[in-house]
């Protein structure tokens, strides 16, 4: 368990909260600093300007992951007009790990299509929020989920800033979280690109080392001035993600949350995590002290009344 330094530090703190014995303070104190991901992890660069909304990737994912047949066939464009509650576009569900959304952008010749799936964050909120450690970030970059230990508290769904994990509520016996796993066990593990990436007829997606992809992305932006917005979405968002996006339309116009900040989600929780060891060490002494004091007062009072 040497992979995430900061996390093992936190582990020291919180485990202490559970079984006081487990606080191994100084050992973990190297701590802090952002993890920033595995140096050689893989990623995918999605060029939104090229996507034509054919949904071949959806079909490929469905097949690769053995998901149930969709309600409407994969060549039915009417799904783009479907709205979920609040007039929002379609999102990932327990039956679809990836969905393509359509955005009509005023002044743009064609609608813009956007593929949505797990972004495989460098420091995933889902992973850091799970109390049974069901998630794992593999060195290849995929964020995996282990359904055999999941209790179904759904904190990971609350925590994911991209609203990705879905839950199979329909099952009474074995409901589990459903999300894209970057085709880890069938492809990524063997160095092969994910099914959706490979299936795309427009070559919208490029699979490669995350650091190379970043270089490529910035290259593309500078090669064709004006063709792209000068931002690679996912480069820094919530600590960086393995899936990154290039667009010719400002990201906030096409459903991307541009207010997420660069800090991984866990950094917002840190404030609380740091007080845990303090409470554990200071409180017992403090309150036993109070107790002794108040008893002393009482003893003095008793003496007063006696004399």
């Amino acid at each position: 368990m040497k992979k995430l330094h900061r996390r093992s530090f936190l582990k020291g703190g919180l485990a202490g909260g559970a079984a006081i014995a487990a606080v191994g303070t100084s050992k973990h104190a190297e701590a802090a600093g952002s993890f920033g991901g595995y140096p050689d992890s893989m990623g995918v660069l999605v060029d939104l300007t090229k996507c034509v909304g054919c949904r071949t990737c959806e079909a490929a994912c469905n097949k690769e992951q053995g998901l149930p047949a969709p309600d409407k066939s994969f060549d039915d464009p009417s799904v783009f007009e479907e709205k979920r509650e609040g007039g929002l576009p379609r999102r990932t569900t327990e039956k679809a790990y990836t969905v393509v959304q359509k955005y009509d952008v005023p002044g743009r010749e064609h609608p813009l299509f956007r593929k949505v799936q797990c972004n495989h964050c460098n420091e995933p909120a889902c992973l850091t929020s799970c109390f049974v450690n069901a998630y794992k970030k593999t060195p290849e970059g995929a964020v995996m989920y282990d359904h055999t230990v999941c209790v179904g508290c759904r904190t990971c769904m609350v925590a994911c800033p991209f609203y990705i994990p879905a839950y199979s509520y329909s099952s009474a016996i074995n409901p589990v979280v459903k999300k894209c796993i970057m085709c880890y066990d069938t492809r990524l593990k063997f160095g092969k690109p994910p099914a959706c990436v490979e299936a795309c007829p427009q070559e919208v997606m490029t699979f490669g080392k995350r650091k190379d992809l970043l270089k490529m992305a910035h290259q593309r932006i500078s090669d064709k001035p004006g063709a792209y917005v000068d931002h690679v979405y996912g480069e820094t968002e919530v600590g960086g993600t393995a899936w990154m996006y290039l667009s010719d339309v400002p990201f906030d116009k096409i459903g991307y949350d541009t207010h997420l900040g660069d800090q991984p989600i866990i950094s917002y929780v840190k404030e609380f995590l740091t007080i845990v060891p303090m409470v554990l060490t200071i409180w017992p002494a403090l309150f036993t002290g109070f107790h002794l004091l108040s008893n002393r007062k009482e003893a003095l009072k008793n003496e007063d009344t006696k004399s």
Partner: protein
């Protein structure tokens, strides 16, 4: 039962009957009435009629939840993974049950023996609140039979919920231990009582630590969703502290509420010490609650100032925020202060109801109403509501049953 008492019925207060023989456990369970009398009393109580209706509707739906799954009782929302079960059952029940650790602290640690008549009620309120919070959790978890996984099977110790799970579990056992004396008196197990007496200080200190941390942790859970909770209800730096401090006034206020309800509806079970001291103690609690309320008010304001969220006050959400703050915090604060100044226990009681409402509103606002404020508003499924009512009704039934029997509202008379 109150009317029975005016006809000369005397509730059980010791192991011995008037004629000198001992009560059997069965007789104790039936409150010293004959089975026939007992059931007659139950049938006459209109509150029980309401309960039967709740169970007639609610039990089948509760069973259905485990047969057909969560999808049958909720909207199966991916955007709102948490609904009323946690919003009410966990995030609201737990702070309202903070009375346990505070009464323990006041009486055992600070040596305020004058609060003794309310200590056990405070402890019981804590224990049952936590117990039913776990019940609600069990209804909500996708796989409730894996409840112990975070403890023994697969540990995720860096997660805030991990801390909540462990602390609630340990604290529950602490609270059970703290209430053993009441049970021991009632069952006539003097040894058990002696043992707890020896470790009560340790239990109390453990209670404070665990409570500070897990009450705060419930707030910290929302810091995993910085963009989803509305900024007026969210503060990375102070969320845990806000949840902790509000638990302090909520627990005290809830204790005033239940002590008032028991005075009204279970007067027959209260002894002289309890009834005579109640007004004075209510004012004592009111004082504590008002201190916590003012602290809370200040940190809520600091929270807004720190993140510079002032501009949101001018929006619709801002108006809703002001409603919560005025009705749920400022008014109770004013009423409590007036009550303490004028020694007006009735005003303190009214204020307690307001404060409890305010706390519930705050937790529901954070967990449900302002959650995903940029998306859309989720209205819980009606079956979800029915289940919440049913489980909460069970909480009341168990609460009432224990109060009617064990020495909580009265002092047990030991054998001479």
């Amino acid at each position: 039962m109150n009317s029975l008492q005016s006809q000369g019925f005397a509730p059980i207060v010791s192991h011995l009957k008037k004629d000198g023989s001992e009560w059997t456990v069965k007789e104790k369970l039936l409150l010293g009435l004959s089975p026939k009398e007992y059931w007659a009393v139950q049938l006459r109580n209109p509150f029980n009629w309401v309960l039967w209706v709740i169970y007639a509707v609610g039990l089948p739906i509760l069973v259905g939840r485990f047969i057909y799954g969560l999808g049958w009782v909720t909207h199966s929302s991916y955007d709102y993974p948490w609904g009323l079960f946690l919003g009410w059952g966990l995030f609201t029940m737990v702070p309202l049950s903070a009375s346990g650790f505070m009464m323990g602290t006041t009486v055992e640690l600070f040596g305020r023996k004058d609060f003794k008549p309310l200590e056990r009620l405070g402890l019981l309120n804590g224990l049952l609140g936590y117990l039913f919070a776990v019940m609600f959790l069990q209804v909500d978890l996708g796989q409730p039979w894996r409840l112990i996984y975070p403890m023994f099977v697969s540990l995720g110790p860096a997660a805030v919920l991990f801390l909540v799970a462990w602390h609630v579990a340990t604290y529950l056992s602490c609270q059970v231990a703290e209430l053993v004396p009441a049970f021991a008196e009632w069952m006539n197990f003097p040894k058990a009582k002696q043992f707890i007496k020896k470790i009560v200080l340790g239990l109390t200190v453990a209670g404070i630590i665990l409570s500070t941390l897990h009450q705060g942790a419930l707030g910290a859970l929302f810091t995993y969703a910085p963009g989803k909770v509305h900024p007026l209800w969210y503060s990375s730096s102070f969320q845990w502290f806000q949840f902790f401090v509000s638990a302090v006034f909520a627990g005290l206020s809830m204790l005033i509420v239940v002590s008032t309800l028991s005075k009204w509806f279970m007067r027959w079970r209260c002894d002289e010490t309890y009834l005579n001291n109640l007004s004075k103690l209510t004012l004592g609690l009111a004082k504590g609650a008002s201190l916590a309320l003012i602290t809370y008010l200040v940190i809520r304001i600091i929270g807004i100032a720190h993140d510079n969220d002032w501009q949101y006050l001018a929006t619709g959400w801002g108006a809703w925020f002001m409603f919560e703050m005025v009705v749920g915090v400022i008014l109770p604060l004013i009423f409590y202060t007036m009550a303490v100044r004028n020694s007006n226990a009735s005003l303190a009681r009214f204020s307690a109801f307001l404060a409890v409402f305010g706390l519930a509103l705050n937790r529901l606002n954070t967990a449900l109403i302002t959650f995903n404020w940029q998306l859309y508003q989720e209205i819980p499924h009606w079956r979800e509501v029915v289940i919440v009512v049913t489980v909460y009704a069970t909480y009341i039934v168990v609460y009432r049953a224990i109060l009617a029997r064990m020495p909580i509202l009265y002092t047990w008379k030991e054998n001479k």
